[in-house]
Subunit: 280 residues, 2 copies
Amino acid sequence: MEGYKTFLAFLVSSLLLGFLGVIFTLVWVLHWQGGLGWDGGAAEFNWHPVLVTAGLIFIQGIAIIVYRLPWTWNCSKLLMKCIHAGLHLTALIFAIVALVAVFDFHNAKNIPNLYSLHSWIGLTVVILYGLQLVLGVSIYLLPFAPNSLRVALLPVHVYSGLLIFVTVIATAFMGITEKLIFSLKDPPYSKMPPEGIFVNTFGLIILVFGGLVVWMVTNPAWKRPPDHGMKSISPNVAASEECSTVTECSNTDKSDVEFNNETARKRALKGDEAGQRSTM
Amino acid sequence: MEGYKTFLAFLVSSLLLGFLGVIFTLVWVLHWQGGLGWDGGAAEFNWHPVLVTAGLIFIQGIAIIVYRLPWTWNCSKLLMKCIHAGLHLTALIFAIVALVAVFDFHNAKNIPNLYSLHSWIGLTVVILYGLQLVLGVSIYLLPFAPNSLRVALLPVHVYSGLLIFVTVIATAFMGITEKLIFSLKDPPYSKMPPEGIFVNTFGLIILVFGGLVVWMVTNPAWKRPPDHGMKSISPNVAASEECSTVTECSNTDKSDVEFNNETARKRALKGDEAGQRSTM
């Protein structure tokens, strides 16, 4: 991998920031917002920011960059696709529970649902995220889709995934704004109480996290190479060998061979939507 | 250009949506928010959403895709760089006036400045936008920077430009959220008055606009080819001929020849941060 140390710096920074983001939401709800619970009250609502940050931001971010980890390049594409889809599925489950929490809270408190731009875009993006996962699994994980369809749709899959990811962060910004305006009363948000400054800082953390993830995944120098002859390319032999102990690690599936062979790759690059935005 | 008709559909859709976004902010402030003025009151504040939408969203979006217009591919890179930088400068001026309007309004009404996440990210992004413009002009428009520096920094220039663009849209979402919560009182935002629905729709419009712009600029099939032998590639002969009447249109500057020659291009693609994200 070109620029391996730079990649590592980006990876470590993004993982630290993503993890810090989750810690920030936990501190926010535990220290200032009454903690976590499932009683239709504020404690139930509090699952919403925690699960969105942990799932739709942090785990989704990891799912997006998982193909970029050079010590996984010896693993079969099928295994990596399972990990990619598994992480996205986990994030989707987190998101659904996060939505249930906020609807439950609104209904218990007679607060109207779905009036704000935050809710419009947020619900849409979770639905699209589910659709993206179903289509992604159907086309790229299950062995039924023809190679031509996989190649043609790959740039759309990658782009829509990244669009969903950045839209989630934009939606979180609106959620932060709403919550701070509604919950900070004495002193209000405009007086910059510690909670306001803390949560604003959380917003900056997820912004930088998103920026790092998208940089990593769109840098063509850090793209997973085709599966042939990977052992010599991986910079982390120990990790690669450990990886080889995973059952499927060396079992490249037939569709992957077809997808990753040089001819298919060239076809992808020649197509109307060439694969330069690929995370695959 | 591959997929010329698809490109045209994307271009027309994005221009219509961007223009519609500007119209929406005008209707919002003229019909619901007391119009425009420069008196320290709400009418002065109203310049803020109008100028941000017109400048930092619509004009910046056009500046980003201007290299993609195939009927400009016969024009010299220098001319296109001037148009690119000129549009960004216009957007920056709009943004500065938009900031002055909101600071003036806050100061006149004794509303604190810079407490919200909207203001933190918004001010940061305008400062970074100015820095991006200064660096972009210094490195790519003025003839002093060595080619190696241009090639090395191009992916950073492109990525930071797109990051600024999407962050502006995310910041606008927070601004919309703040303004609707603060200004809609009877009925409140939660009762979904027409103004709330209208401005939420405006938010969706700029989201789709941003999505289209980023798709267009990151689609490698729609990238401006190197300057050599462009006349046969341009699909719009009439536009190319009209373009040839512009004084500088055929005067490729020395630095452009150097930058666009095949050797430099290959060097860019081979570099640590290869030029696949290029808008140049």
